[in-house]
Every structure is written in structure tokens, then in C-alpha cells.
């Protein structure tokens, strides 16, 4: 009966193509939503782990989190390292990692930080070593692959996070190491020491005086110098340099820190402290309700497509009534023609499911290409999600439900009457 059901569908494909496409669309939408939801929460949670608080310039807390932890949004601005250090001298603070932005290479971000940042993500070296001196750079796996970076390559950074920024051609970085791919944001970054970022901008801002700074390690002196300079430069320059960082990632020894320190920083300083867990759950919560709504819509679409399968079956059965009667005269039992109609419906819904599934993977792949190009973020792909088995089951149930009435009609067909009237 299976072969006959399949041939019946193929014989007049136009009558069922609409219902199959409708179902495929519904399944595709549902699958894409599932993939998106899974991918988002995975990406967000993977990079968040171990970071309890982020200190940065005042602005949107979500923007601070997105820029400093996920490297997607633009930073809120810079903060003075000396200022921030006053706030983290608490014994509750376990570890701090500074992040200094400012430059990019071929639109990949250059992040000035400490080696602790690499350890935080448990990064391993694929080649070379970690940076040890100023102007040495470690490349994330995807950046290295995309730009074809090799150990020993010279990289000239551009100012700002765009490709159009002015180049700091007099002070190239040297690539000393390439990281193994580990699925974190590191894959998309070029990493160096905070001092290197400072040096580039010192040099730029003060021209020949840069040499003087390099030899001068007196903090006090440098600070006053910087202070003088500040007023002269901050109108035509986004971020003043010298001992400024963009954000500080903080982890606490115990949750008590999260209770008191962020509140005090937000209240008493010119900086802001944002808690990733709160911002991310707020963001995911917003997306979850949108995704849930879309899922309902997709299920509705599936039900409509089942209705369409039902109607097309009923219509084709009207045309094929004599064929069913003929099958009965040739010895087919009522159960056999019943199962033939049922199998036809199930075949239609299964074709719809697999089309939709394939379509969702294709669409998701395209979306991830776009996202990777735009944000240097990449998505992993999954063959079959657990929830999709539920969708498959739903399709089978809908297919069976759509076939029920037509199949019962086939079961009860009056052979003699059908053939006499035909």
C-alpha cells in the first residue's frame, strides 16, 4: 500500500503541493526559532561564566555588557584606571580583568587586556606564545583564519572599530601567537596587553614625546601630564589615553560583593557597574516572550496546513472514489484502503516536515553567515534538536487527524453503488 500511496501523491503533485509547502513553512519557522533560542542562550551563557560585574563609563548597562562581554555593541566610553581601582580594593573582589578598546584591524577588534583574560576562557595556544612585551599580539582562531595571519606577521591597527579608521602605521603589532578555537568571543578578537593600546595612543597624541613616556615610569608624573593634556584633546578625540580603560571585568569571592559594590559604584562614582546575569536574563526574557509568540504562530500555521491536507485528501478522494471501489473489487479489504489514505496523509506531512527542516537549516546557515560577517559571531549547527522530535510527532498526529475522516469514508465505501453510478 505504501508504494501506491506514494504513486498517488506523485501522480497529481499539484493538488498536495500547497499543503506540503504550508507545513514546510510552519516547520521551518518553528525550527529556526528553536535554533535561534538555543544559540542565543548558549552564546550568552558561555561567555558570561565567571564574570559577576562589569565597570565602565555611564550609559546603558546592556550596552556595557554587550560591548565588554560579547564584543558586539560599541563601548559606552572610557574610564580612568586610577578611579576604578579605588572601588575594587574590597576583599570581596576575587579577580579583575581590564579591557581597553580603541583600535581594530580589518574590522576585527583589538582588545588590550591581561593574560588573565585568556585564562578566564581557558584558551589554549594553537601556535606560538602569549604576549610578553608591548606591541605583541595574539590572534583568535577565526580572525587568524579569516585574515590568514601567521606568527611574525606585522599588523597595523586602525583607529576606531571601523575599517575606515586612520591607520597607526608607524607602530605595527607583531603576531606572536594564535589561539585554538574554543567557541568563546576570543575566537573573534585580536588580543594584546593594555600597555600596547596605551602606547599607540600616547604616541599618536603626543607625537615625539612618546619616547619620553616610555622611559619614564613615574606614575605621578605621568598622571599630571595626562591631566594637562586632557583638556586640550578631548574635543576632537573620543577617548583620552594614558591609563584609561574601557571596561573592567570583576569576579567576586562571594555573592555578598554583588549586593553592595555595584550599588555604591552607581551611586557614588562617575562610572557604572552592570551585572551581566541581570542584563542577560532581562534580554533573554524579552526575546523569549517574542519567540514564544512566534512559536504559537508557527503551531497555528501547522494546524492550518493540516486542514489543507485534509481538504486536498477529501477532494482527491472524491475523484478517486471509483478507484477505491475498484481496489475493493480486486480483493483489497476495507482496512487496506483505510491505511492507504492514512499513509498518503502521513507521507504528505512527513515530506512537509523534512522540507521544512531542511529549509530551516539552510536559512539558519545563511543567517549565521550574515551574523558572522557583521558581528564576527558564528553559530554552531545542529542536526536535530530534541524539540524538533516533538514537532515531528506533532506533524504525524496532525497528518493522522487530517486523514481520519477521508480514511473512514474510504473504509465505508459502497462498492456496488459507487461503480454503478460512475
Amino acid at each position: 500500500m505504501f508504494g501506491l500511496s506514494l504513486k498517488n501523491i506523485l501522480h497529481k503533485p499539484l493538488s498536495s503541493i500547497l499543503s506540503v509547502l504550508l507545513l514546510a513553512m510552519a516547520v521551518a519557522v518553528f525550527s529556526i526559532l528553536l535554533l535561534l533560542q538555543r544559540e542565543l542562550s548558549q552564546q550568552f551563557n558561555r561567555n558570561i561564566s565567571g564574570i559577576d560585574m562589569v565597570i565602565g563609563a555611564k550609559g546603558s548597562p546592556l550596552q556595557l555588557i554587550l560591548s565588554s562581554i560579547y564584543q558586539v555593541d560599541y563601548p559606552t566610553g572610557n574610564i580612568n584606571l586610577a578611579d576604578v581601582q579605588k572601588w575594587i580594593k574590597s576583599p570581596l573582589v576575587k579577580q579583575t580583568i581590564p579591557l581597553a578598546y580603541g583600535d581594530a584591524y580589518e574590522s576585527y577588534r583589538i582588545v588590550g587586556t591581561e593574560l588573565a583574560y585568556l585564562d578566564h576562557f581557558q584558551a589554549d595556544m594553537a601556535q606560538g606564545v602569549k604576549w610578553d612585551h608591548k606591541m605583541e599580539m595574539v590572534a583568535g582562531s577565526k580572525v587568524a583564519a579569516a585574515l590568514g595571519l601567521q606568527i611574525g606577521d606585522q599588523v597595523v591597527s586602525q583607529h576606531g572599530l571601523h575599517e575606515e579608521g586612520e591607520a597607526h602605521s608607524d607602530q605595527p603589532y607583531t603576531v606572536v601567537g594564535i589561539l585554538k578555537r574554543n567557541g568563546s568571543v576570543l575566537d573573534q578578537l585580536l588580543l594584546t596587553s593594555v600597555e600596547s593600546v596605551w602606547q599607540i595612543h600616547e604616541h599618536e597624541d603626543h607625537g615625539s614625546s612618546a619616547h619620553k613616556h616610555e622611559h619614564n615610569h613615574d606614575h605621578q608624573h605621568e598622571h599630571t601630564h595626562n591631566h594637562d593634556d586632557h583638556h586640550a584633546h578631548n574635543h576632537h578625540h573620543d577617548h583620552e589615553v594614558d591609563r584609561e580603560i574601557t571596561a573592567l571585568l570583576v569576579s567576586f569571592r562571594n555573592p555578598m560583593g554583588m549586593m553592595s559594590i555595584p550599588r555604591r559604584i552607581n551611586k557614588e562614582s562617575v562610572m557604572q557597574a552592570a551585572l551581566p546575569s541581570i542584563e542577560v536574563s532581562r534580554l533573554l526574557g524579552l526575546m523569549d516572550s517574542a519567540i514564544r509568540l512566534l512559536k504559537y504562530l508557527a503551531v497555528l500555521l501547522m494546524v492550518v496546513s493540516a486542514l489543507s491536507v485534509f481538504i486536498s485528501l477529501l477532494n482527491s478522494l472524491k475523484d478517486r472514489k471509483t478507484e477505491l471501489a475498484l481496489l475493493r473489487t480486486m480483493g483489497a479489504s476495507p482496512a487496506k484502503v483505510f491505511s492507504m489514505v492514512l499513509i498518503e496523509s502521513l507521507l504528505l506531512t512527513l515530506i512537509g516536515f523534512f522540507l521544512g527542516w531542511a529549509f530551516s537549516r539552510m536559512a539558519f546557515w545563511m543567517v549565521s553567515m550574515v551574523v558572522e560577517g557583521r558581528f564576527h559571531y558564528s553559530f554552531s549547527s545542529v542536526l536535530l534538536l530534541k524539540e524538533e522530535l516533538f514537532v515531528l510527532l506533532l506533524c504525524i498526529l496532525l497528518g493522522a487527524a487530517a486523514a481520519l475522516i477521508p480514511a473512514i469514508r474510504a473504509y465505508r465505501i459502497n462498492i456496488s453503488k459507487t461503480l454503478s453510478n460512475a
Binding site: 501522480h11 478517486r320 478507484e323 475498484l326 473489487t329 480486486m330 480483493g331 483489497a332 454503478s420
Partner: protein, 208 residues
């Protein structure tokens, strides 16, 4: 061999039929003649086991159809009765060859492809084996119907108005073909019709 005794059928209290007893031996032919509305098709469906009589007995090869349960009747009909309907119905999605194969499979018989090819060649439509029914002419369809009715080597071959749409020449050809096939396979051939032209071709005639 097919035999019926005191066969009666009622659609409702107004439409009652009582049929004369019928007998047709293996390899023989029987013509059942009657004008429209006398229950010719009803009788054919009764003899084929598509309808249950309200009274009487139908015996094919010693088996009483009225005593069989529904499922047994379906199987018995598939295996032992070949039917040629007034209109030529096929499974549209299947080729002629596949239609014949389906008839064999549903009857629970395994018929070699060679047999099917031979049967189609016998009826002069061998080259249409792989063609879908919709692409056949009416004459070819009728031959294909005969082939399908014969594929399981039935004990009884029933034909409902096989000649009504044909001119004299084709009429005789089809009747000769039916008689030839039936006698070749030792099937009892029963034809119900109002077509008086067939009277001369059969020695056994029952008038309704």
C-alpha cells in the same frame, strides 16, 4: 463454474428483484439479456459478491458466497472473479502493467511479469504496458480491462455491457476475445447486456 438459486435482492421495499436461476460451466458462456431497469447490474454485483443477496445461494466452484464473511468474500472475489465493468476504471497513478500487478497482489497471487506481458500481447496491447491508463484509447482501455480481469486466472469472468459503446465490427471482436480468453483459461463467462446483437453469439441465454 457458477450457479445461483432463488436469488433475490431488495434496495428498499419498492425496489425488489427476484432473479431466475443461473448456471454456467467452466469454459462456457452465458448471456443475460434484459432491458434497462431490470436489475442487470444488480445481478452482476450479486454474482461478483459486491452485494449481499436478501435470499438465495450463489456458488462459485462449490463455494457458497453468501456463507463467506466480509474479509473472506473480498479475498475470494479477488482471486476467483474477474470483472469487466461497463466503464473502464483503472488506478490512474499506475501504469497498465502495474494495474495488472496490483490486481494479482491484492488477490494474494504472485503473477510473473512474463505472464502479464504475455496476456497483454495476447490482447494486442503489449506496447502499452508501461503507459498510464489516461493515455489509452477507449478500445485499448477495454482490452486492458479484460487483461486485468483475466490476470488471476479467475473461475468466473463477469462482463457488464461490454459492447454497448462499440460499433458492430468492434462488438464482435470484443465478444470473440472474451469467449476466447474464457475458454482458454476454463473460466465461466457471464455477460449482462441489453445489446440484442450479442444474442446470436451465445447458445445459452437468460432473459430477465
Amino acid at each position: 463454474m457458477i450457479r445461483s438459486r432463488e436469488l433475490a435482492f431488495a434496495y428498499d421495499s419498492q425496489n425488489k428483484f427476484e432473479f431466475p436461476d443461473i448456471y454456467c460451466g467452466a469454459g462456457e458462456g452465458l448471456l443475460i439479456l434484459g432491458p434497462s431497469g431490470m436489475g442487470k447490474t444488480t445481478l452482476l454485483h450479486l454474482l461478483a459478491g459486491l452485494l449481499r443477496p436478501s435470499a438465495g445461494v450463489i456458488e462459485i466452484d462449490g463455494v457458497d458466497l453468501t456463507q463467506l464473511r466480509d474479509r473472506e468474500l473480498d479475498r475470494f472475489r479477488g482471486a476467483n472473479v474477474g470483472i469487466i465493468f461497463q466503464r473502464n476504471h483503472f488506478i490512474g497513478a499506475l501504469s497498465i502493467e502495474e494495474n495488472l500487478n496490483m490486481a494479482a497482489r491484492l488477490a494474494g497471487k504472485s503473477v510473473a511479469n512474463k505472464t502479464i506481458t504475455g496476456l497483454l500481447a495476447n490482447l494486442g496491447i503489449a506496447e502499452k504496458a508501461g503507459v498510464k491508463p489516461a493515455n489509452l484509447s477507449e478500445g485499448q482501455k477495454q482490452r486492458a480491462s479484460i487483461a486485468r480481469a483475466m490476470v488471476n486466472q479467475p473461475k468466473v469472468l463477469l462482463a457488464d455491457e461490454p459492447s454497448s459503446a462499440l460499433d458492430d465490427e468492434n462488438c464482435h471482436q470484443v465478444i470473440d476475445l472474451l469467449k476466447h480468453q474464457a475458454s482458454q483459461q476454463q473460466a465461466a463467462l457471464l455477460i449482462v447486456t441489453h445489446d440484442q446483437r450479442l444474442r446470436e453469439a451465445f447458445s445459452n441465454v437468460v432473459q430477465l
